[in-house]
C-alpha cells in the first residue's frame, strides 16, 4: 500500500480486503459450488416448465411459441453456415485456379 495514500483510502482498501478475503474463500468452497449448480439447475427447470406451459397454450391457439421460433432460427443459422462454407470453398477454388493460370 503506497505511503502517500490518504487515510480514508487506506481504510477503505483495508476494509475491502477484510471483507473480500473471506468472500473469496467462500466462493471457492464446495458449499458455494453446490449452491451454484443447484441454482442453475433449478432455474433451468423453472424456465423449462414455464416454456412448456406457454407452448401448449400457444399451440392450442395455433400460434408459434418462442421455442418454435428458436428452432427455426437454429435451422436457418445451420443453413447459412453451410452456404457460407460453400461460398468460401468456391472462392478458394477460384483463387487456386487463378494462381495455377498465372504460373
Amino acid at each position: 500500500m503506497p505511503a502517500n495514500q490518504p487515510l480514508w483510502l487506506r481504510a477503505v482498501l483495508r476494509l475491502e480486503r477484510a471483507i473480500g478475503e473471506p468472500i473469496e474463500s467462500a466462493v471457492r468452497s464446495d458449499t458455494y459450488f453446490d449452491l451454484v449448480s443447484a441454482t442453475t439447475r433449478a432455474r433451468r427447470k423453472v424456465e423449462g416448465a414455464a416454456e412448456g406451459l406457454s407452448r401448449r397454450c400457444l399451440h392450442m391457439l395455433n400460434l408459434p411459441a418462442g421455442s418454435d421460433i428458436r428452432r427455426m432460427r437454429q435451422q436457418l443459422a445451420r443453413m447459412e453456415r453451410r452456404l457460407n462454407q460453400l461460398a468460401h470453398d468456391v472462392s478458394e477454388l477460384d483463387e487456386a485456379d487463378v494462381r495455377s493460370e498465372v504460373r
Binding site: 490518504p6 483510502l9 480486503r17 473469496e24 459450488f33 451454484v36 428458436r70 443459422a77 468460401h88
Partner: protein, 366 residues
C-alpha cells in the same frame, strides 16, 4: 513524530497546497460528472490498422504506424472469451503500439463476436481452418515465409495446437502469453465444470453458445469485492484525466466479454478441463493426435506471477511440453492477467521484455 506532518508550517506551502486542492476538487467534479454520465469514453483499440483478411467473423488486422524494420511478422492470436483491444487499450498504453513503434510488423487475429452462426465452431475450425488461412494472408501481406506467432490466454492454446499440428506451419517463434496447459490448476471457475457440478449443456443458451454474461459472472466471482477498492482509488484520483481514462478503458474491457462458441466449449470442457489432456503432451484434433513437442521453432512461455485468471502453475508445464527443450525460454512477469496489455507493470516490464525477445529472434534490418 508523524513524518507526514511538517514541524513548521510555511504559509507559502499552505497557499500552494490550498490552490492544488481547489484545482483538484474542480477537476474531480468535472470528471465525476463525465464519468457518471458516461459522456467521455476513451478511445480503445485506436492504433491505425488495415483489415487484410476476413472469413465469417474472424478478421486479420495489420497495424500501421511503424517502419517495419524486423521480420518475420508478429501475428497475435487472441483468446475466444474476451475482446482483443486489451492488447491495444489506449494510445500510449498499448502493447500493439509498442511493438509497432519498435519496428515490428504486427498483425492481430480477432475472432469477432460469435452468434448462432458460430455455435458449431469447434477447436478444429479455429486451429485447422481459420489459423492456416489467416497466417497465409499474413505471410503474403508481409512477404515473409515465416511468422512469429503470439497467443494470448486461450489464443495461446490455439496457436500451440496449430504450430504443433501443421508440418508446414513455418512458425519461427511461438510466444505463449498466460496460456493454460494444466487445467487442474485453473482455480474455482473451472473446478465447477471439472468436477461435473455443472455440465457444458447447462451453460449453453438458445444461440448454441455460452453467453457473455455467464463468462463475466465467472470472472467477477473470482474477486467480487475488488470493485469497491477500484472505485475508491478512482475517487481519490478523479482529478487525474489520464487515470480516469485508463480506469474507464479497463472497466469497459473487463465487462466486454464475448459469447463462447458452444462446440468449442464442449471440447474444452471434455478434453482440456475434465481429461486435462494437454498435460499428456498430446491432444486429438481433427482425427489425428497433435503432439505439443512437435512445435518447431523457439518457444517463449510468458506468465504473470499474480495472474488469478490463469495462475502461473497452470502455465508453467509449457516448459516441459511444448517444442524442443533446447529452444524453450520462460519469462516471468510481475503483474496480473492483463499485464500483457496494460498497466504500469506492462509498460515497465512486459512490453520491453517481450519486444526485446522478439527482436532478438527476428531478422535484423539490412
Amino acid at each position: 513524530m508523524n513524518p507526514r506532518v511538517p514541524s513548521v508550517i510555511n504559509p507559502g506551502d499552505l497557499v500552494s497546497r490550498l490552490n492544488r486542492d481547489v484545482e483538484r476538487s474542480i477537476l474531480r467534479a468535472r470528471n465525476g460528472i463525465r464519468y457518471v454520465r458516461g459522456s467521455h469514453s476513451p478511445p480503445v483499440g485506436a492504433t491505425p490498422k488495415d483489415v487484410v483478411w476476413k472469413r465469417d467473423k474472424a478478421e486479420l488486422w495489420r497495424y500501421k504506424g511503424g517502419d517495419r524494420r524486423y521480420g518475420p511478422p508478429v501475428v497475435i492470436v487472441h483468446s475466444l472469451v474476451s475482446r482483443s483491444y486489451i492488447l491495444d487499450l489506449r494510445p500510449g498504453n498499448s502493447t500493439v503500439e509498442y511493438l509497432t513503434r519498435a519496428g515490428l510488423d504486427v498483425f492481430m487475429l480477432d475472432w469477432g463476436v460469435p452468434d448462432e452462426l458460430d455455435a458449431d465452431n469447434d477447436l478444429e475450425r479455429y486451429v485447422d481452418w481459420y489459423l492456416p488461412r489467416a497466417l497465409a494472408a499474413a505471410r503474403e501481406a508481409s512477404g515473409h515465409e515465416e511468422v512469429t506467432l503470439a497467443g494470448y490466454c486461450l489464443g495461446g492454446v490455439l496457436a500451440a495446437l496449430y504450430a504443433a499440428g501443421h508440418e508446414d506451419a513455418r512458425v519461427r517463434n511461438l510466444i505463449l502469453m498466460a496460456t493454460p496447459v494444466d487445467f487442474d490448476e485453473m482455480g474455482a471457475m473451472v473446478a465447477l465444470l471439472r468436477e461435473g457440478r455443472l455440465n457444458p449443456e447447462e451453460m449453453i443458451d438458445e444461440t448454441g453458445n455460452v453467453p457473455a454474461d455467464a463468462l463475466y459472472s465467472g470472472f467477477y466471482m473470482l474477486a467480487p469485492t475488488t470493485e469497491v477498492a477500484q472505485k475508491a482509488t478512482l475517487l481519490e484520483n478523479l482529478w487525474n484525466d489520464e487515470f480516469v481514462e485508463g480506469f474507464q478503458a479497463m472497466a469497459t474491457w473487463s465487462r466486454d466479454h464475448v459469447p463462447f462458441p458452444g462446440a468449442a466449449f464442449r471440447q474444452l470442457v471434455e478434453l482440456l478441463v475434465r481429461q486435462n489432456i494437454l498435460m499428456t503432451g498430446s491432444m486429438p484434433l481433427g482425427g489425428r493426435p497433435v503432439e505439443l513437442a512437435d512445435v518447431r521453432g523457439n518457444v517463449l512461455n510468458a506468465m504473470a506471477e499474480r495472474d488469478n485468471v490463469v495462475p502461473a502453475p497452470a502455465v508453467e508445464p509449457v516448459m516441459h511440453l511444448v517444442g524442443d527443450p533446447a529452444r524453450r525460454e520462460e519469462l516471468r512477469l510481475p503483474g496480473g492477467h492483463v499485464t500483457f496489455g496494460t498497466g504500469r507493470s506492462a509498460f515497465k516490464h512486459t512490453m520491453p521484455k517481450l519486444t526485446g525477445w522478439i527482436i532478438e529472434h527476428s531478422d535484423t534490418p539490412a
